[in-house]
């Protein structure tokens, strides 16, 4: 191409050349920048850093392994090897000959072996041809048949030659081994001793950054076989909903959390630390192995993210947020709906797979939180799948007029916490209804609600009590009978945990200000007369006990509350409110006419009914007239998956996260109305439960656990047959608060805090199913009778139905792997064995603690043990044997002595039954089982022990 003359051009070509050159250079630089920008990844730095740390760690382990190797043994082996080598050296010539022979034999063998294999292949192919030809009756069949026979002969020939060659080779090898065999054995032994060291050494070599490492991981070359690579687990069972389809989770967390599923990295800096609960999570032998459960199914966050930010990490508090902003330039992940759960909420994720269980083992926070959710009656107003069958939390108000008066009810509804600590929330005079006008109107509504409740209430006739009781005695009874398992008197102190089982029943403070002596007396004698579905059991109180307790409870008063006046209602305002409610359903003129016709009582009933409807009181209480009312709150079944922009933050200046919103809502449910101009009916209605910070944060965990994530059945927790049998009983145990007094499944015994003497505490029921007979347990639960008469705390009568009793008995049997219901107890009473047992019984002085029939006097409760006459009816014979063998194994810390430590028999017992521990135990069991006698039954005594 000829270059035109300069003068012909519109531009200065020289200048264009320069511009072109410069842009080319810039482009090259930008391209390099692009490649480097693409190459530089946060996770590569982490992997390099981990390699370094891991290498240091492994080197230390190599040194350790080396130190552990028995050096003397190695030296000895080395010396042996040298000697063996010396021996070979002496017979050098013979050795050389042998090796030469071996080489020759090997060469020969190789040739024959190859021939044989070729012949075999030809034979196989010919055989196939022959089979086909014969089957299809081709003319060539005969010829092929002959050929096949020949080949077979040739093959047999070759196989024979191969055998011979193999034999020659083996004998040549044996001759060589005569010289070097010993060396090989020594080498193998040494390698075995150094196995650990070698393995670790190899790991160090693998981790070393040599030139190969740099080539493998060089920019543009790293597509082939890089050693720095993204690690991922594809979880086919756990899906993410991306609206139009679901996709498997692909967890890349292990790209940086490189040792999360391995033991031994507990002290590494993050992100290289081992998971703190490898027994439960990630490890291959744990219930949640990493390759099927992954990470984000529990922790949430963005599964495919490979940077700190795009994995949607969530800081636990403002301080950490500041740190992260500095260190990682952290900011909330752009438009990611499910950021990682903070550690205190991570147990929320258990629920999506374990919802079928009444509680999740190991998820203490979630269990506590769910209990609080139930105790607080959240499900009364908010529909939640799985909570539909629960009983309403509050008492039935059918007979309210027989229990309390109108003034008390008014003041109680207005502000329950001024009376005492309670789960009953406050509906009025809250953040968004605190102006004088609002308060006046609220007062009208409360007044009318009380009128309504009393207008639909039935009255029970209580006869006047005969005689009084002693309040101090009553207090003593309340403190010792076990009332404190479910009730607290006065403000619960700091030692009461969140959702403590002792908060199960109402607080007893102020009982005297609340109700009458007659009501208390009849209630504690038989609670179900007043509230048929109450969980309050009977304690089989004698009349005097009931009178004493009544006297005590009636003496608990709240004078300040009593003094508070009940405001007078302005009739004009009541008319306004009534008109307002009427106006909702009719035109104003009709409403006014209607109002004219109404009496004051009618107005109260109208307002009260509408107010109860509006606030949803029937969510927790059975109220006549609201049997079919729909719950008033928003459904919470998928609340944890609610998108952030569906939550109205109003003008509240809080962090814009779901957890923060939930927390704020629980702490002050009306806060999001602040700053808004709203009419009364538009205002938020959720009442204030006065949750503590800890309680609120627990409930946040619960809310986050209710997600729309549908885990496929095969990934969910499936109850096996035994667990399924236990489940119904477990639910009962939870709903009746058994664990308030008894330790079951290693939790419970909350009442222990109130009983200093460990001998007076309710029994730990850990091995109960293994220990007692199912039929006895059934009878006992139906009609409890004392087993440890020295205990002041009393097992109540729950009036379980037969179905419920069976569920509980099944629970205990299944829990401890016992057969239920029919069992053969195989035991005999050979008289000589019984006699030996009796002898042992005396020698061991069993009656020092145990007794037969009557409680020995002057023995401290701690040293007392159950009546042995009950053993026959109550205990499983094989359990007695296991118990005698090693009581500490069954109930660590028990005061029952171990008579046969590790099966050894004490010296003074050596003479009995040939000093055989097993025989002695059997003898004693047989003796104990004769104590009760066949006819002996436990007398059921009503009203005390």
């Amino acid at each position: 191409m000829s270059t035109p003359k300069k003068s012909d051009h519109a531009h200065d070509i020289g200048k264009l050349n320069v511009i072109f050159g410069v842009t080319c250079c810039v482009l090259v630089v930008v391209m390099i920048w692009m490649v480097l920008d693409d190459y530089t990844r946060e996770w590569k730095d982490y992997q390099r850093q981990f390699n370094r740390l891991d290498m240091e760690k492994t080197r230390r382990e190599v040194a350790q392994a080396r130190a552990q190797v028995d050096r003397r043994k190695i030296q000895e082996l080395q010396k042996q090897r040298q000697e063996a080598e010396k021996r070979i050296e002496q017979k050098r010539k013979d050795y050389e000959v042998a090796r030469h022979e071996l080489a020759k034999a090997e060469a020969e063998w190789y040739e024959v072996d190859q021939d044989q294999r070729f012949a075999k292949a030809t034979y196989d192919s010919l055989r196939y041809d022959y089979e086909v030809a014969r089957e299809e009756k081709r003319g060539s069949a005969q010829k092929l048949g002959r050929e096949l026979a020949e080949t077979e002969k040739g093959l047999a020939d070759l196989t024979a030659r191969l055998d011979a060659a193999t034999a020659r080779k083996d004998s040549a090898q044996a001759r060589v081994n005569e010289y070097v065999g010993q060396i090989a054995v020594i080498g193998k032994e040494m390698a075995g001793m150094r196995f650990q060291q070698t393995r670790l050494q190899q790991k160090v070599e693998r981790l070393q950054t040599n030139p190969v490492f740099y080539v493998r991981n060089a920019p543009m070359l790293d597509f082939m076989n890089p050693s720095l690579d993204i690690n991922q687990y594809i979880l086919d069972n756990l899906h993410m909903d991306i609206n139009f389809m679901t996709i498997p989770r692909v967890d890349r967390c292990t790209t940086c959390h490189l040792a999360i599923d391995q033991k031994g990295y507990e002290n590494m800096p993050q992100p290289f630390r081992s998971h703190p609960r490898l027994d439960l999570f990630l490890a291959a032998d744990s219930p949640h192995p990493i390759d099927s459960v992954g990470c984000t199914s529990c922790h949430l966050g963005r599964d495919r993210g490979t940077t700190f930010g795009t994995a949607a990490h969530t800081p636990r508090d403002a301080k950490q947020e500041e740190q992260w902003k500095k260190k990682y330039h952290w900011h909330p992940m752009h438009r990611w709906d499910y950021p990682m759960l903070t550690l205190n909420n991570v147990e929320a994720s258990c629920y999506k797979c374990h919802a079928s269980e009444s509680y999740v083992q190991g998820a203490d926070r979630l269990n506590t939180a769910l209990r609080l959710f139930e105790q607080s009656g959240c499900f009364g107003c908010h529909k939640v799948k799985g909570f539909e069958e629960l009983r309403k939390t509050g008492p039935d108000l059918k007979y309210i007029a027989s229990k309390v008066d109108k003034d008390w009810t008014y003041k109680w509804i207005e502000s329950p916490r001024e009376f005492r600590h309670t789960r009953m929330p406050q509906f009025f005079h809250l953040t968004n209804t605190n102006t004088p006008e609002d308060r006046a109107r609220s007062q009208v509504e409360i007044h009318s609600m009380v009128e309504y409740l009393f207008s639909v209430s039935e009255r029970l006739k209580y006869s006047l009590l005969k005689g009084g009781g002693s309040a101090p005695r009553g207090q003593e009874l309340v403190n010792t009978l076990g009332c404190l398992g479910c009730h607290v008197v006065g403000e619960p102190g700091d030692n009461v945990q969140v959702a403590d089982r002792r908060l199960f029943g109402p607080n007893l403070a102020g009982m005297g200000s609340k109700t009458t002596r007659e009501w208390i007396y009849h209630w504690i004698k038989d609670p179900s007369h007043y509230f048929s579905r109450t969980y309050m059991p009977r304690l089989r109180l004698s009349d005097q006990e009931a009178l004493d307790i009544t006297a005590y409870l009636a003496s608990l008063r709240n004078p300040e509350f009593e003094k508070r006046p009940v405001p007078k209602i302005d009739p004009k305002l009541r008319d306004d409110v009534a008109l307002y409610y009427l106006h909702q359903h009719m035109r104003e003129k009709e409403a006014r006419e209607e109002l004219q016709k109404m009496s004051d009582g009618d107005k109260d009933v109208l307002i009260g009914q509408r107010a109860i409807q509006q606030y949803g009181c029937f969510g927790c209480h059975d109220i006549r007239g609201f049997e079919r009312a729909q719950s008033v709150g928003v459904e919470l079944t998928e609340e944890g998956s609610k998108l952030l922009d569906r939550l109205d933050f109003g003008f509240a200046r809080i962090e814009h996260t779901k957890a923060a919103w939930f927390f704020q809502k629980l702490k002050d449910p009306r806060i999001f109305d602040v700053g808004k101009v709203k009419r009364r009916e538009e205002k938020l209605k959720m009442p204030n439960f006065h949750f503590t910070d800890r309680e609120a944060s627990h409930l946040v965990t619960v809310l986050l656990s209710f997600t729309k994530e549908r885990v496929p059945a095969e990934a969910r927790k499936v109850l096996d047959a035994r667990e399924a049998q236990m489940e119904a009983g477990r639910r009962l145990i939870k709903s009746r608060n058994c664990q308030a007094c008894h330790v079951l499944e290693n939790t419970g015994g909350d009442i222990f805090a109130t009983i200093a003497d460990s001998g007076l505490r309710p029994p730990i029921l850990e091995p109960e199913g293994e220990k007692v007979k199912s039929e006895w347990l059934f009878r006992f639960l139906k009609e409890p009778s004392p087993i440890r008469p020295w205990l002041k705390v009393r097992m109540p009568t729950f009036d379980f139905t037969d179905t419920e009793l069976n569920n509980i008995v099944t629970y205990f049997a299944s829990r401890h792997h016992q057969v239920f219901p029919y069992v053969t107890y195989d035991y005999r009473f050979p008289p000589e064995q019984v006699a030996a047992g009796r002898h042992l019984f005396t020698v061991m002085r069993c009656l020092n603690c145990h007794f037969t029939g009557t409680v020995p006097a002057g023995v401290s409760a701690e040293d007392l043990a159950p009546d042995l006459t009950m053993a026959r009816e109550r205990l499983r014979p094989d359990w007695i044997v296991r118990w005698m063998e090693d009581p500490q194994k069954i109930q660590p810390g028990t005061r029952m002595p171990t008579y046969y430590p590790e099966g050894k028999v004490a010296d003074q017992l050596q003479g009995i039954l040939k000093g055989d521990a097993g025989q002695q135990i059997l003898a004693m069991r047989d003796y104990v089982l004769t104590l009760g006698g066949r006819s002996q039954s436990v007398p059921a005594r009503a009203g005390g022990h």
Binding site: M1, P4, D8, H9, A10, H11, I13, L16, I19, F20, T23, C24, V26, L27, V30, M31, W33, M34, D37, I242, N243, F244, H334, R335, W336, D337, L643, D645, D648
Partner: protein
């Protein structure tokens, strides 16, 4: 400071801003003195300073630096530059020609330039520069990906791609079939028809304003005011729920703006005649139909006879008819916008029975 911000927020409310832009546009187009290097530089500096100062406002910064909006900011500068540059050259040429000199383009080269290197070389360099810009942009600003699409959750505001924001803005004022189908088709057809309607040979190969003042004004009005300005509005001033937000206002999704619009038929029957609406759609909408027919059928001959006599003569009936319908369609947009702002007028013709609304 807050006062100034409030003032700007107030000025950028749609009716005021739009009016300001129209007035400024026509005044500026006719002001010779604006199209010089000095004024251009001052305007550039002023705009840059405005952006830099406004950057201190968090709301302004958030909207302007959103990865989606960065190219629109670039586009504003580019369009501003090219509009200024072409008009500057046009006015300079006009001055030259007034002095009897040939246009500047005539002096630059002779009749012929070389394809290589004059054209291809510069194109190659432009290609390299464009590659560099795109690469650097891609490295520095990550793709603005959004959350996974969902049938139940629409993003708020849900915005069209930036080049369609002008159309989306039109949707506020017109029925979707007009704003989404008819007008875009008319724009494309109109642009295709332009060379056949505008047969004025002046300005071929050189910039001039005086010789083509009406054509340039009309085109630039359509392009700058009705297209670019609307894109800018849609990008920077339309927030959640497609509400209008001033440049310094927080995009609060809870902001409420009353939208009580009524149809022309309601004006006539209910407001002025004081009766209810007729049941039959033709009777109900007859006035609206007459107005629209008058606009498109009676107005062109009237204009031809009275004010556009010379143009009508120069173009001939066919060209005039096509051209005037296109122009009237274009003008219909600002007319409808003003009717909405002043009278809350929803539709001139509203026949929901046939999904037909104008």
């Amino acid at each position: 400071m807050q006062f100034v911000k409030d003032l700007f927020n107030f000025l950028s409310s749609p009716a005021i801003f739009f009016t300001l832009v129209i007035v400024l546009f026509f005044v500026a187009l006719r002001t010779r003195r604006l199209w010089t290097d000095r004024v251009g530089t001052v305007a550039l500096v002023a705009v840059v300073v405005y952006f830099v100062v406004s950057f201190f406002d968090p709301n302004f910064k958030k909207v302007v630096t959103a990865p989606d909006n960065v190219p629109i900011v670039g586009m504003l500068f580019l369009i501003g530059f090219f509009a200024w540059f072409s008009l500057k050259q046009a006015y300079e040429n006009d001055d030259r020609m007034a002095r009897g000199e040939p246009p500047a383009e005539k002096l630059e080269t002779d009749e012929k330039v070389w394809c290589w290197p004059d054209l291809v070389y510069t194109e190659l360099i432009a290609l390299l520069v464009a590659s560099i810009v795109l690469l650097v942009w891609a490295i520095l600003i990550e793709a603005p990906l959004e959350e996974p699409a969902s049938i139940t959750v629409a993003p708020n505001p849900s915005k069209a791609p930036w080049y369609f924001l002008g159309l989306q803005e039109m949707l506020v004022y017109f029925d979707p079939w007009l704003a989404g189908v008819v007008f875009p088709s008319l724009i494309i057809l109109g642009l295709m028809a332009l060379p056949y309607i505008d047969t004025n040979p002046k300005g071929n190969g050189y910039y001039t304003f005086r010789e083509r003042a009406r054509e340039i004004a009309l085109f630039l009005f359509g392009f700058l005011v009705l297209w670019v300005f609307m894109i800018m509005t849609g990008t920077f001033l339309r927030g959640p729920n497609w509400n209008f937000f001033g440049p310094y206002e927080y995009w609060d999704p809870h902001k409420l703006v009353p939208l009580n619009n009524i149809n022309f038929s309601e004006f006539i029957w209910v407001r002025w005649l004081g009766t209810g609406l007729p049941q039959q759609w033709l009777a109900r909408e007859i006035f609206g139909i007459l107005v629209v027919l008058a606009y498109f059928l009676a107005l062109p001959p009237l204009l031809a006879r009275r004010w556009l006599n010379d143009i009508h003569r120069k173009m001939g009936a066919a060209r005039y008819a096509v051209g005037i319908v296109l122009i009237l369609s274009m003008i219909a947009l600002p007319i409808k916008m003003y009717l909405r702002w002043i009278f809350n007028l929803k539709y001139i013709i509203a026949i929901p029975e046939f999904f037909f609304n104008i």
